[in-house]
């Protein structure tokens, strides 16, 4: 059936071409309109219980898009007019940033940070320097004393050495545009900054703003990679068609995929551009396989035969359509299973990737031979440098020699050792970020430097909140509930990476003490629910409505405890979560109130980290399942499934081990690459083994069949691997550490896949002689016979 399809495609090549051209033209219209942006919410596994808590409370207890400014005096403390003036300018400037939540601005110059003091009428509150700055040195000194007195400000918002102060602000998630926020925030800093202060800035919108900032560089790298790729193809293939056609198929599949993605409303995350490279790599390798085979076939067509190109194209398509489609179907199937992940970003990515991979079936497997059918038999080459003779053929001969000699056992032994060593080593793979700072950027990137500086001066810029509450109103006033909250905070602060915690239970003792004439012996919670309710009322009465909202909801049903984290490392977060759970185990319920995990940036990352490891293992399992099913379908053998598992498992293990070695954590950013990479390694092996099989069926000796396969399909493998690895290396120079690391991973992936296809698979095939390759079936023999007898030409190897 596949053969008929192949013939049909080449016979009606003009129609195929017109259809492909029209589709490409239409889809390119949509493709160019695709939105390039990162949406942090897309990373949230919506079904996870933490995310549900986060979504419910994020607007009051703190979302994931909080940005933090640190204003640091270069000399002396912040209590000097020039510095305070800058604090005020930034605070006021924030209001002009789009999508800012003006009720969530916390700054010395804002309305929300207040001093609580006793007065004749009870207690009163007063913003520190809103609306006006202090006017004299005496007033500055008064401000300083007021700050020092308030543990909710001194420490969390003004550093212990008084040299720095923070301004934090949240955004309305649905209105937020990272790029705009990033630009406006840095604009604001540029307007205000001078020699007297250092102003630092961190937060998710800023981080993703940086990613977008490097977008032009990313595009340049893509173009550079493309140039290198074309040059190398041209040098190696020595023909224009060998250069242009792979490029064409890559372009067509990219246009189709992006066009369809745009139609489905999927945005393109600049962080997954490496994935795009990975899939493009597949498109190219399929196309190169076609061209290599076509060359071989056209050489076999006797000189002078009419329509020799068409014949060769037909033969190429006919023979390669099976491994080609099998490779693509396996890739697509393996990628599809990643959709079981509850992370929307991955689900969207899967749609994009499947579409992309599927288009390779048309752009490479069908379009390339169809276009080749117009190509005349080459008479000369475009240049004289024959790498085939110098490099490729000797290398492939070497591959054959390895299989032919006892060295083949050595190959299997080495692979086994690598398998075991990498298997053991990959157990060290860290889930979550492996280093402090953002793994997306290099450690010396200004964002990471800012982040380190802020985390050094302050309890921590990244927050998590847990919610204490239940179904009953006024639970948050309960003595035991509040007492449990304080115990929880004390317990959590014992963990080194947690810089501090904050809740309503920290505020009430201060209010109580103020009401008790400032007697420190009364710096404690009220001893009844009534008293605590009164303390809350007193505080809120003195402050503005809504000032307590970040601590407790209006019905006093749920209260928040905010934990400040000094870093986002996987182990830090996992330890914190484990400790929280330990506390919950010991205090399952207090007055029907429970502790609910977990919101804020750290809560979301914790949820992600919890799903990615099991998701990844499940994905590998299902990907292997798909592979086995495909093999059963095509080769009617589950042994074939096991056989092709070898390169897949090997490349996954090597990659994991590499990640563990290089301290690259399995986190929200790396997981798409790792997940989609699972299946994208098998098609090299498929081409090689399929060719061995068909040669063997044509009556070759096993070794001869392997040799032919290595020299044809193997050449395709070697050429694509070389060209792709060389062009991927440009990513090492990316300003985004993430892209550099992922580039390295993909290069590694391709190397392992290529090497296992060139050395390991032939060696294994020769040693084990599996039946699905060296089958001795009557039918196959007959078919082979009849094909040769009734064929259009005789092979002349």
């Amino acid at each position: 059936m596949l053969e008929k399809f192949a013939r049909l495609c080449v016979d009606s090549r003009k129609i195929v071409l017109v259809v492909v051209f029209l589709a490409t033209a239409i889809l390119s219209f949509f493709a160019q309109r695709i939105e390039v942006k990162t949406i942090f919410e897309d990373l949230q596994p919506a079904s996870h219980s933490y995310i549900q808590v986060h979504e419910r409370f994020k607007n009051t207890f703190g979302g994931t898009n909080i940005i933090t400014f640190m204003i640091e005096a270069k000399e002396g403390t912040i209590f000097q007019m020039s510095v305070l003036d800058k604090v005020q300018k930034i605070t006021r400037g924030l209001l002009k940033i789009d999508a800012i939540n003006e009720f969530q601005i916390y700054s010395l110059a804002g309305k929300k940070l207040k001093e609580v003091r006793a007065s004749t009428e009870g207690i009163s509150t007063r913003p520190y320097m809103w609306p006006n700055l202090p006017k004299s040195q005496a007033e500055i000194e008064e401000l300083k004393q007021a700050v020092l007195r308030n543990p909710l400000v001194y420490g969390p918002y003004v550093s212990e050495d008084l040299r720095a102060t923070l301004i934090t602000v949240d955004f309305f998630d649905d209105l937020l545009d990272y790029n705009l926020a990033y630009e406006q925030a840095y604009d604001l800093i540029a307007r205000v900054t001078d020699d007297s202060v250092d102003i630092r800035l961190v937060g998710n919108p800023v981080l993703y703003g940086w990613v977008n900032h490097y977008l032009p560089e990313t595009v340049n790298l893509v173009l550079l990679a493309l140039t290198i790729f074309l040059m190398l193809l041209f040098i190696i293939n020595r023909t224009w068609r060998g250069t242009i056609l792979p490029l064409l198929s890559a372009a067509v599949s990219a246009i189709w995929a992006l066009g369809v993605a745009q139609l489905c409303g999927i945005n393109f995350d600049p962080l997954v551009v490496v994935i795009a490279m990975l899939i493009t790599a597949r498109a190219v390798s399929h196309s190169v396989q076609m061209i290599t085979r076509f060359h071989e076939e056209i050489d076999n067509v006797p000189e002078g035969q009419k329509l020799c190109s068409i014949t060769a194209a037909k033969k190429t398509l006919q023979d390669l359509v099976r491994p080609g489609l099998l490779g693509i179907a396996t890739d697509a199937g393996c990628v599809a299973v990643v959709a079981i992940s509850p992370i929307p970003l991955l689900q969207k990515l899967v749609v994009l990737a499947i579409v992309w991979i599927s288009t390779v079936a048309i752009s490479s497997v069908i379009l390339t031979p169809v276009l080749l059918s117009w190509v005349k038999k080459p008479k000369t080459y475009a240049h004289g440098l024959n790498l085939d003779l110098l490099l490729i053929r000797p290398f492939l001969d070497f591959c054959v020699r390895i299989v032919a000699t006892r060295a083949r056992y050595m190959v299997v032994a080495i692979a086994t050792v690598i398998f075991v060593v990498c298997g053991v080593y990959s157990l060290n793979l860290k889930v979550g970020d492996a280093n402090p700072g953002s793994p997306i950027l290099w450690p010396e990137a200004s964002y990471n430097k800012d982040s380190a500086a802020i985390n050094e001066q302050f309890p921590g810029a990244d927050r998590m909140f847990v919610v204490v509450g239940g179904d009953h109103m006024n639970q948050a006033k309960d003595v035991q509930v509040l007492d449990t909250m304080l115990r929880f905070q004390r317990y959590m602060e014992a963990q080194e990476e947690i810089g501090g915690t904050l809740s309503i239970a920290d505020i009430l003792p201060a209010v109580n003490m103020t009401l008790r004439e400032g007697n420190f012996r009364y710096s404690e919670l009220g001893d009844s629910n009534l008293v605590n309710g009164e303390l809350m009322y007193m505080f809120e009465n003195a402050a503005e409505p809504g000032d307590l909202n970040r601590f407790v909801d209006v019905s006093r049903t749920n209260a928040s405890i905010t934990l400040y984290f000094g870093d986002r490392q996987g182990t830090t977060i996992r330890t914190a979560i484990a400790r929280i759970n330990q506390f919950i185990d010991e205090n399952p319920e207090v007055q029907q109130a429970k502790i609910h995990l977990a919101g804020g940036v750290i809560g979301v990352i914790a949820a992600v980290n919890e799903v990615i490891l099991s998701g990844q293992i499940q994905s590998i399992a299902l990907a292997l399942f798909i592979l086995v099913m495909m093999c059963i379908l095509v080769y009617r053998s589950s042994i074939a499934g096991m056989f092709f598992m070898v390169p897949v498992v090997l490349s996954n293990l090597v990659t994991f081990a590499f990640m563990a070695w290089q301290n690259i954590g399995m986190n929200i950013n790396t997981v798409p690459v790792a997940a989609l990479g699972i299946g994208l390694g098998v098609d090299y092996a498929l081409y090689i083994c399929d060719r061995i099989k068909s040669e063997y069926q044509l009556g070759k000796e096993p070794l001869e069949a392997i040799s032919i396969s290595l020299h044809c399909a193997g050449r395709g493998v070697l050429v694509t691997a070389l060209v792709l690895i060389a062009s991927i290396c440009v990513w090492l120079f990316s300003s985004l550490r993430f892209q550099a690391e992922m580039g390295m991973l993909i290069a590694l992936w391709l190397t392992v896949s290529a090497l296992s296809a060139l050395f390991l698979m032939p060696a294994l095939a020769y040693i084990c002689k599996p039946k699905f390759i060296f089958g001795n079936n009557q039918k196959i023999t007959q078919r082979a016979n009849s094909r040769v007898v009734g064929g259009e030409y005789e092979p002349q190897h």
């Binding site: 001194y154 293992i617 994905s619 399992a621």
Partner: protein, 355 residues
């Protein structure tokens, strides 16, 4: 295994594949075809059931945690001392405060004060009117019964005297007396809505108690009857101490300092312009060694002055440490003060070191 053979381009059908398999071969091939499925199943199992394990390290918090409020201190010798504080915390040191050992009392109430007769017997009072005693250096703390009010019961200070005598004061005009090392307690004055903050026994019969709103209560008959006076200070009085039977000092909120030279018959208020302090003062003690009065209080303030009420010197424990302190204890040429933090300040250097 048979393989296809070709001779000069002509193909020969080969012998039938798989001639006859032995049972062993069959089993082996079934085994082989099961391998991929078992790998898939194993991985799936791992993916569903294996979660990253976290070893939760047992973090042993320091004896005095960052969040701790220590309200009371009792120094037996320069080496041996006790601290009490929030959530039933009792700490004991045998090396002058370098190391602290936690002692357990069965309560989570805040403990406000401790006083020791010697290094074995001591008494602790706290919120809710709780009283704990020990007779074995704190190895066991036993709660004892004491009279309570129905309204409020925070006990604030306790003082011990020779012969197993102890006095404690607290909310609602509470004055408690014990003569048996704290085993039993008697209420010495009827309930009244005033907080008693400190007390001193001047001789076998005379007891002075200071309280809210500048009030001073005196008994000349060992607590049977009480004389109620308003001092010149409108602010609440928090602590009282005598350096001789005649010369005493009372401190209070808003920097109130009252002094007497006639065994407490008359008290005069020190002008704040002279003392130079307006912050709350919470405790006062006489340092025999340096012959100085010293008082501590809110916002990290301290004040010291000579016995003849001259040379007032006020200062801060540190420029950024505005922690409040509730008590102090003279140790050698300086004092340990407790509150939002615990530390030692030497009189000579005025340098404060956090424990």
């Amino acid at each position: 295994m048979n393989i296809l053979r070709s001779t000069s381009g002509e193909y020969q059908p080969s012998e039938p594949a798989n001639p006859v398999k032995t049972i062993g071969q069959k089993t082996f091939s079934i085994f082989l075809s099961l391998i991929p499925w078992s790998i898939v199943a194993g991985l799936l199992w791992a993916g569903i059931f294996i979660k990253p394990q976290t070893m939760v390290e047992v973090v042993i918090p320091p004896a005095i945690e960052k969040r701790d409020n220590i309200f009371g201190i009792s120094v037996v010798t320069a080496e041996k001392m006790w601290l009490v504080g929030n959530y039933g915390k009792i700490l004991h040191s045998e090396d002058g405060g370098k190391n602290w050992v936690r002692q357990t009392a069965a309560t989570r109430r805040h403990l406000q004060d401790i006083s020791a007769w010697n290094d074995q017997t001591a008494v602790v009072v706290g919120n809710g009117g709780v009283i704990f005693i020990t007779a074995d250096g704190g190895g066991t703390w036993t709660e004892v019964e004491a009279p309570k009010s129905k309204i409020a019961n925070k006990l604030i200070r306790v003082h011990t005297y020779a012969g197993g005598e102890a006095w404690a004061v607290g909310e609602l005009g509470m004055i408690l007396h014990s003569e048996d090392y704290g085993q039993s307690w008697t209420r010495m004055r009827e309930e009244e809505d005033v907080i008693m903050n400190d007390l001193i026994k001047l001789d076998d019969n005379r007891i002075l108690v200071v309280g809210e709103y500048g009030r001073l209560f005196q008994s000349r008959d060992k607590g049977k009857t009480w004389q109620d006076n308003y001092t010149a200070s409108p602010s609440s009085l928090t602590a009282i101490d005598f350096r001789t039977p005649l010369d005493g000092v009372i401190v209070g909120l808003d920097g109130a300092i009252l002094v007497t030279g006639d065994a407490g018959e008359t008290w005069s208020l020190i002008d704040k312009d002279i003392s130079g302090i307006t912050e709350h003062l919470m405790d006062v003690q006489w340092s025999e060694l340096t012959e100085l009065w010293v008082a501590v209080g809110n916002k990290g303030k301290w004040i010291k002055f000579s016995g003849d009420l001259k040379n007032f010197q006020a200062g801060s424990l540190s420029s950024t440490d505005l922690s409040s302190h509730t008590e102090l204890a003279i140790v050698k040429g300086g004092f340990i003060t407790v509150g939002a933090n615990v530390g030692y300040m030497a009189f000579e250097t005025n340098h404060f070191t956090d424990f």
